[in-house]
C-alpha cells in the first residue's frame, strides 16, 4: 500500500470516528472510553509481526513484552468494559420486584458487602 492510500484511509477513518461519537449520554462516557481503549490494543498485531523477524535476543524480548502489553490492553479493556456495562442490564430485575428489596431490612452491620 502506498503512503497516499494509507493517508486517505486515515483521514476517512478520522471522520468516521468523529461521526460515530455524537451525543453520548454522560453515563456511557467511561464505558465508551474503556471500549475504545481496548480497540487500540490492536497494536499487539505489530508485536506479532516484529517478533517474526527479530534479529537478536533483545528484539525478541522487546517483541514479547509488546505482545504481552498489547494483549493486556485488549483482554483487560474489553473485560472491564463488559463489567461496567453489566451494571446497566440488571434493571429489568429491579422492576420485577418493586419494593421487594426493602421488605426485610438487614441490620446495619449486615448490609451487603461490596460485590465488585
Amino acid at each position: 500500500m502506498d503512503l497516499i492510500t494509507e493517508i486517505t484511509i486515515l483521514v476517512l477513518a478520522a471522520f468516521v470516528g468523529f461521526e460515530v461519537i455524537s451525543k453520548v449520554p454522560t453515563t456511557l462516557h467511561t464505558p465508551l472510553m474503556s471500549q475504545t481503549n481496548a480497540i487500540h490494543g490492536i497494536v499487539m498485531l505489530g508485536g506479532l509481526i516484529v517478533v517474526g523477524y527479530a534479529d537478536d535476543a533483545l528484539e525478541e524480548v522487546i517483541g514479547v513484552i509488546a505482545i504481552a502489553f498489547g494483549t493486556i490492553n485488549i483482554v483487560g479493556g474489553f473485560m472491564v468494559t463488559d463489567r461496567m456495562l453489566g451494571m446497566f442490564t440488571r434493571k429489568p430485575r429491579e422492576q420485577q420486584t418493586p419494593d421487594g428489596s426493602s421488605a426485610s431490612r438487614p441490620g446495619p452491620s449486615r448490609s451487603e458487602e461490596g460485590r465488585g
Partner: protein, 470 residues
C-alpha cells in the same frame, strides 16, 4: 501450527481486516446507546479476535514460542486484573490499560528501528517518520498514563506537583525530541540507535512532567486524552507496518477519543489546554485548606434520621467517598426506608461525580437504584431550593459553592450541584479534609449545613436503622 496461509497485504488478509475494522466501527456506534452498549463491546471484541487470528495466519509470522508466551502472559494478567478490580478503581484501571497499549507501541517502534538498522539499508521516510511519531506519542502515553494511575490510586499526591520552570523544561524537551527526530530522518541511511533511545527517554520524561502538575480532579480528561493519543500512535504504527486494520482502528480511537475528551472537559467546564498547561489549585487554595479552623456543626445518626424522616423531599448527592466505602447498597437501603415513610428521594449526579463521568451511575445501578431516580445536575439544580434536605455523601468539590460565588477560587466556574440552596444540608464525610481539588469547601461552614462524620457506608446504615426505629 499452520503458518503463512495468508499473504501480508494480499486480498484475503485485507478482506479479513476490513471485516474486523467494520466490526470496530459498528461496535463503537452501538456503544453510544445504553441499551446496545454491552452488545457493541462484544461486537468490537469479535472484530479484535478476527484481526488477531488473521495476523497469526500471515506469511512471515514466526517465533511461535515467543508469541504464545506473550499472549498467555498478557491474557492472564488482563483477565485477573479485570476480575479483581473494584468498580471504584475502574478509572485507574483504564489508565493502566491505556498505558500498556502506549508502551507496546513504543516497543514495537524500537524493534522496527533495530530491524531497520540490522538490514543495513536506508530506512524510507514513509516508514521512519510514522515510526518516530508512534515512538514519541506511545512513550508519552505510557508514562503519562502511569502517573495518572498512580495519582488516582493515591500512590503519589493527587495535588498538582509543580516544578519551577516546568513549562520551560517541557518546551526544551519537546524541542530536543523534535530535533533528534529530524536528525534521524536526515540520516536515514545510517540510523543511530543511541539517539533513538534518547528520544524514547526524553518522551518518557515529557510524559511524566506533563501529567504530574495536573490535579487529580482533571485526571479523567487526561486519561481520555491519552487514550486518543495512543489511538493515533497505533494508526501511525499501522502506516509503518502497512497494516490497514491498525490504521483504521487507531484513527477511529484517536478521533472518537478526541470527541469524548472534549465532551468530558465541557461537562467539567474546563478547557483541554487549560488542564494541560495550568495546574489545578495553586498556592492560595492550599493555604485556605490547611490554615484556619472555621466553625461547623456536627450531628449524629439519630438527628440526621429525624431530619430525613420528617422531610417531604430528600436529594442524595453521592460522591467518591460513597464509592470508596462501597456504600451504594447501604444508601439504597436508607432511601428505601425513607420512601416507605412517603419521603420523595432522588439522586443528584454531577457529570464527574466519582472520578470519571458516568462512574456514579454505574455504582448506583449496581445497587439497583432505579435509573429514573438518577437525576442529572441541570435537571435537579432548579429543584434544590424546594428540597427539604440534601444529603451529601462523600462528595466535596462538586458541591462547593465557591465555584459559583468566589471568582478567585481555583474551581471558579466549575458547574456544581447547588446543595447550599436546599433548606437543610447533611454532609456525611470522614473528616473536614479538603477534596480532590485540594481546596476547602465553604458548604461545610454554612448555617444550614450539618456534618456527620464517619464512614459513608456505616453512617448510611446507622441512619437507616434509626429511621426504621422512629
Amino acid at each position: 501450527m499452520v503458518t503463512g496461509v495468508l499473504e501480508p497485504g494480499g486480498d484475503a488478509s485485507t478482506a479479513l481486516y476490513i471485516v474486523s475494522f467494520s466490526l470496530f466501527i459498528f461496535g463503537v456506534r452501538r456503544g453510544t446507546h445504553p441499551s446496545t452498549a454491552k452488545q457493541g463491546n462484544l461486537i468490537a471484541a469479535v472484530g479484535m479476535a478476527i484481526a488477531v487470528v488473521t495476523t497469526l495466519l500471515l506469511d512471515g509470522i514466526g517465533n511461535w514460542g515467543l508469541i504464545v508466551a506473550g499472549l498467555v502472559i498478557g491474557t492472564a494478567v488482563g483477565v485477573v486484573a479485570s476480575i479483581r478490580v473494584q468498580m471504584t478503581q475502574m478509572p485507574q484501571m483504564v489508565a493502566l490499560y491505556n498505558g500498556v497499549g502506549g508502551g507496546a507501541i513504543a516497543l514495537i517502534a524500537w524493534a522496527e528501528i533495530r530491524h531497520g538498522i540490522a538490514l543495513g539499508d536506508e530506512l524510507p521516510l514513509d516508514t521512519l517518520i510514522p515510526i518516530l511519531l508512534s515512538t514519541v506519542v506511545g512513550s508519552i502515553s505510557f508514562w503519562g498514563s502511569n502517573i495518572a494511575f498512580a495519582k488516582l490510586q493515591d500512590l503519589i499526591p493527587t495535588q498538582p506537583l509543580a516544578v519551577p520552570g516546568q513549562q520551560v523544561i517541557n518546551a526544551l524537551l519537546l524541542v530536543g525530541v523534535v530535533a533528534a527526530c529530524v536528525s534521524l530522518a536526515i540520516n536515514n541511511d545510517d540510523i543511530s540507535e543511541p539517539l533513538f533511545i534518547g528520544i524514547l527517554i526524553a518522551s518518557a520524561l515529557l510524559g511524566n512532567l506533563v501529567v504530574l502538575p495536573i490535579g487529580g480532579a482533571d485526571m479523567p480528561v487526561v486519561i481520555s486524552l491519552l487514550n486518543a493519543f495512543t489511538g493515533l500512535a497505533a494508526a501511525s504504527a499501522g502506516i509503518a507496518l502497512d497494516n490497514v486494520a491498525l490504521i483504521v482502528a487507531g484513527t477511529l480511537v484517536g478521533s472518537s477519543g478526541t470527541i469524548l475528551t472534549l465532551e468530558m472537559a465541557t461537562a467539567m467546564n474546563r478547557s483541554v489546554p487549560n488542564i494541560l498547561f495550568a495546574g489545578f489549585g495553586g498556592a492560595p487554595a492550599a493555604a485556605a485548606g490547611g490554615g484556619e479552623e472555621r466553625p461547623h456543626t456536627s450531628i449524629g445518626a439519630q438527628d440526621a434520621a429525624i431530619k430525613l424522616a420528617y422531610a417531604d423531599s430528600v436529594v442524595i448527592v453521592p460522591g467518591y467517598g460513597l464509592a470508596v466505602a462501597q456504600a451504594q447498597h447501604a444508601v439504597k437501603e436508607l432511601a428505601d426506608e425513607l420512601e416507605k415513610r412517603g419521603v420523595s428521594v432522588n439522586y443528584a449526579i454531577h457529570p464527574v461525580a466519582g472520578r470519571m463521568p458516568g462512574h456514579m451511575n454505574v455504582l448506583l445501578a449496581e445497587a439497583d437504584v432505579p435509573y429514573e431516580k438518577l437525576r442529572e445536575m441541570e435537571d435537579i439544580n432548579p429543584e434544590l431550593p424546594r428540597t427539604d434536605v440534601a444529603v451529601v455523601i462523600g462528595a466535596n468539590d462538586v458541591t462547593n459553592p465557591a465555584a459559583k460565588n468566589d471568582p478567585d477560587s481555583p474551581i471558579a466556574g466549575m458547574p456544581i450541584i447547588e446543595v447550599h440552596e436546599a433548606r437543610q444540608v447533611i454532609v456525611i464525610k470522614r473528616s473536614m479534609s479538603p477534596g480532590f481539588a485540594g481546596i476547602d469547601n465553604d458548604l461545610f461552614y454554612l448555617d444550614n449545613t450539618d456534618m456527620l462524620f464517619g464512614d459513608a457506608k456505616q453512617a448510611a446504615a446507622d441512619i437507616a436503622s434509626e429511621v426504621g426505629d422512629l
